[in-house]
C-alpha cells in the first residue's frame, strides 16, 4: 500500500499528541539551553486541546482534520511555535481538503506546502538551525521514495525518521539564526534545536505506533 488513509492520519495525530505531551518537560529543557525554555509548554498547550477534543474533531477528510489541528494550534499556542506549526498544518490541509487518502507524491506536496508556508512566515532557510532543518530532509526522503515508486510506507517512514535524526547531530554545531535561540548567537553552538528534536522524536514514535522496524538503520 503506498496510499496513506485518513485512518492512518488519525493514528498519526494521536501518536503525535502523546509524544508532545509526554515530552513537554524534555522539550522545554532543551529550549532552556540556548532559548527561553518554553517550547515544550507552548506546543503542549495546543496538543492538550487536540487530545481533549479529539473525539469531536471533523474527520470527514484528511484536510478537514489537519485544518482543525491548525486552528487549535493558532488558538492555543503562542511564541514562535504557534505560527510555525499552525501554518504548517494549515498548508498541508489545503492540499488534502476533500481527500480520505493521499499518495506518497501527494504527501510530498503537502510537506512542501507546509515548508514553504513556514519559510514565508518566519523567513528561515535550510541551515538556520530550525525545525526546517529536519522537515526539509524528511520531505526530500518522501520525494525520493515517491519518485522511485516505493510501495511499502514503512520503509518511507523509517528513512524519514533517520533523516530527521541525522538533522539533530548535523545542526548541533551550527549557530541558530531564528527565534529566541538566535539572540544567543555563538552560544547556541553545541546545543540541540528543540524543534528539530521534536520532529525526530515524533517520527520515532510514529515508527513504534505503526510497528516499523528500525533495526537496520540502527546497525
Amino acid at each position: 500500500m503506498s496510499e496513506i488513509t485518513i485512518g492512518a492520519v488519525e493514528r498519526a495525530v494521536r501518536a503525535t499528541t502523546t509524544t508532545v505531551l509526554r515530552n513537554e518537560q524534555y522539550f522545554s529543557d532543551l529550549d532552556g539551553v540556548a532559548g527561553d525554555g518554553d517550547f515544550g509548554a507552548s506546543l503542549s498547550a495546543g496538543f492538550r486541546v487536540v487530545d481533549k477534543d479529539f473525539a469531536e474533531l471533523d474527520k470527514s477528510s484528511i484536510g478537514a482534520l489537519l485544518l482543525k489541528i491548525s486552528m487549535i494550534i493558532t488558538r492555543n499556542v503562542g511564541g514562535c511555535s504557534g505560527p510555525i506549526w499552525g501554518t504548517g498544518f494549515m498548508r498541508a490541509a489545503m492540499l488534502s481538503k476533500e481527500k480520505t487518502s493521499v499518495t506518497l507524491a501527494e504527501l510530498e506536496e503537502m510537506l512542501t506546502a507546509a515548508i514553504d508556508g513556514i519559510q514565508q512566515r518566519g523567513g528561515a532557510k535550510l541551515g538556520d538551525k530550525t525545525l526546517l532543518d529536519a522537515l526539509i530532509p524528511v520531505r526530500d526522503t518522501v520525494k525520493e521514495h515517491a519518485a522511485s515508486g516505493t510501495a511499502d510506507t514503512a520503509i518511507v517512514l523509517s528513512d524519514a525518521t533517520a533523516a530527521a535524526e541525522e538533522a539533530i547531530e548535523h545542526t548541533k554545531d551550527m549557530v541558530a539564526r531564528r527565534g529566541r535561540q538566535s539572540f544567543t548567537g555563538d552560544r547556541s553552538i553545541g546545543s540541540l534545536d528543540p524543534g528539530i528534536v521534536a520532529i525526530a522524536t515524533i517520527l520515532q514514535d510514529l515508527c513504534t505506533e505503526f510497528g516499523v522496524s528500525r533495526a537496520a538503520k540502527a546497525a
Binding site: 518554553d38 488558538r75 511564541g79 504557534g82 539572540f183 552560544r187
Partner: protein, 331 residues
Amino acid sequence: MKKFVNAPINFVSEMLEGLVLANPDTLKYVPEFNMIQRVDRPANGKVSIIQGSGSGHEPAHVMAVGPGMLDASAPGQVFAAPPVDACYECIKAMNSDKGVLALVNNYQGDRMNWDMAIEMAQAEGINVKQFIIDDDVAVQDSTHTVGRRGVAGNFFVIKACGAAAERGASLDELLALCEKVNGQVRTMGVALTSCTPPIKGKPIFEIGDDEMEVGVGIHGEPGRRRDKIKPADAIVDEIFDAVVRDLPFQSGDRVALMINGLGGTPISELYILYRRAAERCKEAGFTIVRNYVGEYCTSIEMAGASLTLLRLDGELEDLLAAPAEIPIRVF
C-alpha cells in the same frame, strides 16, 4: 523558585484576574483570549492602540492599558508571544471607525503571530496596521537575527501614540509618529542576575556572583558580553556611551531620560544610576526635559536596569506631557 505562584500554568491568568479585581470600574478581562481592555473602548472617532507581547515584562504591556495609553492588550504566557487568535480577537474587539494600531515588539514570535492576525483581520475588512518597535542597541550584528529587540523604548511609543490618538490623530499620522519615536529612541540594559519564568522553574541563564551581562535582552537573551560587576557609575558610562553613539545623540539635544528597573533592582539603586546618567547628559550638552526612574519594562525578577534616551522636539514634548493613566495605583 522564589515566587508567589499557584499552578505556574495559571501565572498569567491569575495576574490578570488580580489586575481587574483591582480595577473593576475601568478594566475588563476576557479570559478566552487573555485580553485586558478599557471598559469604554473601542470608541469611534479614535484609533485604538493595542499591544500584545509575552508576559513577564510588567507593567509593560498589560498594565499600560488606560486613558492616553493602550486601549487593550493581549499578553501571552511569560516570555511567549500571544497566540494568533488572541491577537486577532484583540484587533476585532478594538475595531473602530478610525482603525486599529498594533504596536509590536520586534521578536520573531510576536511578529509572526501579529502578522497572521493582521492578515486575518484585514481579510475581513478591518482597518488595522502594525508598527514594529526595535530600540535595543545591544544587538549589533543583526544580519543573522530578526534584528534589534524592542525593549523599554516601547513605553515612549505607547505614550506618544496614546496621547496623539486621544487628540484624534489618524492611523497614518500615528504610523508616522511611531516611525519618528522609534527612530529617535535607543536603549541598552545590564543584568546582574538571571530571571526565572514560572513554568520553566529555573533561571534562564547562569551568572557568577560577581558577574554582569552587558546588553542583556528582556528575556535574558545574552548581550554584548559578560563582565565583572563594575561600580554603578562605570556601568552607566558604558551603556550611556553605547546609546548615545548609536543614534547618535548630539550636544544641544533635548531628551527624555529613562532609567528602567528590570524587576529585582530596588528604586534606590535606580536613582544612583540616574544620578550618573544625568551628570553624563549635562557633560554631553543634552537638556533633560523629562525623566523616568522606575519600572517600565521588566524581565520578571531580574536584577538589572536599562537606560533609554529619546530625542525630543516640540511635538514629542507636548505628547509626553499629556495626561495619561495606568491601572497601577500609587494613591
